[in-house]
């Protein structure tokens, strides 16, 4: 067993590794990360994760429901550290996995991967407590400066790789030849909801209350099962172009194209303003255009901005993290952007569930289909599920959200999960 594998074993048990080893891992990680562009290209299949925030036990829960590394290909959208009590173990485990399996795990930077923020929100204090000096914190911050700013997932299929072993929990199951756009798997109850691309809702409408208003394809999109050549797509020319842009926060008024992100000099502390700051700090909101952010950094951006950005960059979806959503994920703007949140019972206090987003490989080379044909009939059903009228837009990838809860409080064989959360007493 190599030193690295030993470190991984030790970290999986939530035990810190010696300072000298941290230095070595951080050094190796930097050598790897320096080779990555500001926007990493990631091939589907991939499982996209949001904020972790040092909730180590819940990160283990995430791996349990999503599959382990390297079997599952992961993309973490930042905010590994701060708030939770095991930022160190969580970040170092992810970093060791990155060094050990560089092609199976992608880490991009969140706004908490910063010297300034970690001194306020806990990671600095945690390093001081666990090592008695700031050295480990410094090594980690040096790595933060090398993390990519975003990722582009390519080669995802519009179809879902339906798991035949998960039975739908009610009788209105979707026929196997129907085009399922979204599957929501509740990992606790094993309740599965599926949403067909024509937006008829087949199961448990409660699950959908806060969740997706999907964009529909108005083509009769009857592609064959992934991995087969029975693709119904006649749009071979568009195969490689639709992609999913992953970023921690969101968009920037200074960034109209993804190529612009590629030109940034990212190897620095997160600045207080500018494109790099915005990518890590901004939030989508129900507004027109751009707005001031209540966070004091980044901007708010509306549906029109997302629509334009996706069109200009040939994207079908933006996946981002950064905002707590009680239901674990939230699609907005007719499924043009999704927030994925992966820290259940955030800060041991919020009572929320978490989720991860699975995208599947386009095995049949059918790729993305052009979205529409002229004169398509509008969808039936409630207005909020109405179709997008634009014919130029990409239809979204098939998406499975695995929704999971916090790991239990007293987990045998690991350090106690948490001290008590603060309230006003």
């Amino acid at each position: 067993m190599s030193d690295l594998d030993r470190a991984i074993t030790q970290l999986r048990a939530c035990r810190p590794i010696p300072e000298a080893q941290v230095r070595e891992v951080c050094y190796k990680a930097r050598e790897l990360l320096i080779m990555e562009g500001n926007v990493v290209i990631v091939n589907a299949p991939v499982t996209i994760c949001g904020d972790i925030h040092g909730q180590f036990h819940d990160l283990m829960e995430l791996f349990r429901v999503g599959g382990d590394v390297p079997e599952t290909n992961y993309l973490f959208m930042g905010d590994f550290v701060d708030r939770g009590f095991y930022s160190l173990e969580s970040f170092l485990l992810l970093l060791c996995l990155k060094v050990r399996y560089p092609d199976r795990i992608t880490l991009i930077r969140g706004n908490h991967e910063s010297r300034q923020i970690t001194t306020v929100y806990g990671f600095y204090d945690e390093c001081m407590r666990k090592y008695g000096s700031a050295n480990v914190w410094r090594y980690c911050c040096d790595v933060f400066d090398y993390l990519a700013l975003g990722a582009l997932v390519v080669g995802a299929t519009t179809q879902l790789d339906l798991d035949p072993t998960t039975a739908l929990s009610d009788s209105t199951s979707i026929r196997s030849d129907e085009d399922v756009e979204i599957e929501i798997v509740n990992e606790k109850t094993q309740h599965v909801s599926r949403i067909r691309r024509d937006n008829y809702i087949h199961t448990d409408s409660q699950v959908l209350q806060s969740s997706p208003v999907t964009r529909s394809s108005s083509t009769p999109d009857r592609n064959g099962a992934p991995g087969t050549s029975a693709s119904g797509s006649a749009h071979g020319s568009s195969t490689e172009s639709g992609a999913v842009f992953c970023v921690h926060g969101g968009l920037s008024p200074l960034v109209e194209t993804i190529d612009k992100i590629r030109l940034l000099d990212r190897k620095q502390e997160v600045p207080h303003e500018g494109a790099m700051c915005d990518l890590l700090w901004s939030d989508p909101d129900e507004i027109d255009g751009w707005g001031l952010s209540p966070r004091g950094a980044g901007f708010l951006f509306g549906q029109d901005i997302v629509k334009m950005f996706n069109q200009r960059n040939d994207l079908s979806l933006i996946a981002r993290a950064h905002q707590l959503v009680m239901e674990g994920f939230k699609e907005m703007f007719e499924a043009r952007i999704v927030t994925v949140w992966s820290a259940p019972n955030y800060c041991y206090r919020c009572g929320n569930v978490a989720s991860i987003l699975e995208l599947f490989e386009d095995g049949g080379a059918n790729g993305y289909s052009r979205g529409a044909v002229a004169g398509a009939t509008p969808a039936q059903g409630p207005d909020e599920y109405k179709r997008r009228p634009e014919s130029w837009e990409r239809i979204g990838p098939g998406r499975r959200y695995r929704v999971f809860e916090a790991a239990p409080q007293d987990s045998r064989g690991m350090p106690a999960k948490k001290p008590a959360a603060d309230y006003f007493l």
């Binding site: 206090r349 919020c350 239990p408 603060d422 006003f424």
Partner: protein, 371 residues
């Protein structure tokens, strides 16, 4: 896709329920060591101990200049300076500022008459020191009621801290301040500390509260106090004051308490607090602002009544310049969590008599809860 090699932690629990870990907290947040929450004495000690938690939150906010309170430092007993997350600091700020505003309006209403404040479960609250040092001299008599354990502790701090003694005697002679021989009480024309278990107060067993003025306009304060008592004890105390001790006086009540115990955040809060041995007994009964205002009306304090959650108070009661100033104390990144937390605490006020009607008649209550 599930990884079979990773154990499901839920299955390792061996029958132990979620959120039942006891006394696992660290530092100032934990209960006293070795407590058993089925023992009533230990349970009381846990409630008494919540005061150090509040003292720590107060000092944390003061150290970061959210609040200006030179007295907060003396009542926090741990060696290491307390540090709270920004949302807790902001919450402490809004809680304090909201109560300060309601109290200031009360004191400014008919200022020539004597005003009385009775603070239930006052703990190490520094508000009397801040009020009694105001100039011009406030026309005020202040009473604090708490367990003898807590009052003894507070009084010994006062005795050994010259600036606290100076504060109390700003507007009265030093020898007017009379310390009880048991070390648990203070009597004076402006500041009184009464060691009392609030649960012993009922309409038929009225406490002896020296220097209580039975006819002065009186504001009763309960900052996270009555919520620890049973609903029966809580209403008995209110009745004892409104119908007996202060039967002929204008009376107002301000409550600061958590609300919404039944949503996801609230359920987690109840379970987290239970794991520290803390049970807020009235939380279910007064689960939202309208239940709280109804409670005040039922107590005969409905001539002017209103309520606001802490998010509302932040948004509507704090002006923009002050918001900017507070925003600069610390960067607050946790917007969503702030809103969640702040919507789970509220300030409720109600009163009878012209003093309170003129003091609070124009306070902006949260939509839907005005009189």
């Amino acid at each position: 896709m599930t990884a079979p090699s990773i154990p499901n932690l839920s299955s390792l629990l061996r029958g132990r329920g979620r959120g039942r870990g006891r006394g696992r907290g660290r530092g100032s947040s934990s209960g006293p060591p070795g407590f058993r929450d089925d023992d009533p004495i230990a349970r009381d000690r846990i409630v008494q101990h919540t005061d150090q938690d509040a003292a720590g939150s107060r000092l944390s906010a003061v150290n970061l200049q959210y609040l200006d309170d030179p007295y907060a430092q003396f009542f926090y007993k741990d060696a290491a300076p307390p540090r709270r997350f920004p949302i807790i600091n902001r919450g402490t700020y809004v809680r304090t500022a909201a109560l300060d505003q309601l109290i200031a309006r009360f004191l400014a209403s008919d200022p020539s008459t004597l005003h009385q404040i009775i603070s239930l479960g006052a703990g190490t609250d520094t508000r009397p020191f801040r009020l009694l040092t105001q100039t011009p001299r406030p026309n005020l008599i202040y009473h604090e009621l708490d367990f003898a354990t807590n009052t003894t502790c507070k009084i010994s701090t006062i005795k050994e801290t010259p600036s606290l003694l100076r504060a109390l005697t700003t507007h009265m002679d030093a020898d007017a301040l009379v310390f009880g021989s048991n070390g648990a009480s203070i009597e004076s024309p402006m500041y009184n500390v009464h060691p009392i278990d609030l649960r012993t107060i009922t309409p038929t067993t009225l406490p002896n509260l020296p220097n209580l003025d039975p006819s002065a306009p009186t504001l009763v304060l309960s900052e996270c106090c009555l919520c620890y008592l049973s609903p029966t004890d809580g209403s008995a105390i209110l009745t004892a004051f409104t119908s007996h001790l202060l039967a002929s006086a204008p009376v107002g009540l301000i409550l600061y308490e958590p609300v919404h115990p039944n949503d996801a955040f609230g359920r987690t809060m109840v379970s987290n607090l239970a794991s520290r041995g803390i049970h807020m007994q009235t939380l279910q009964q007064y689960e939202d602002i309208s239940a709280q205002t109804a409670r005040l009306r039922a107590a005969g304090l409905g001539e002017v009544v209103g309520g606001a959650d802490i998010e509302f108070a932040w948004e509507r009661w704090v002006d923009n310049a002050e918001k900017d100033r507070v925003g600069r104390c610390e960067m607050l990144d946790e917007i969503e969590e702030w809103v969640l937390l702040a919507r789970h605490y509220c300030v409720v006020w109600g009163g009878r008599g012209d003093v309170f009607k003129s003091a609070w008649g124009s306070v902006e209550a949260q939509q839907g809860f005005e009189v």
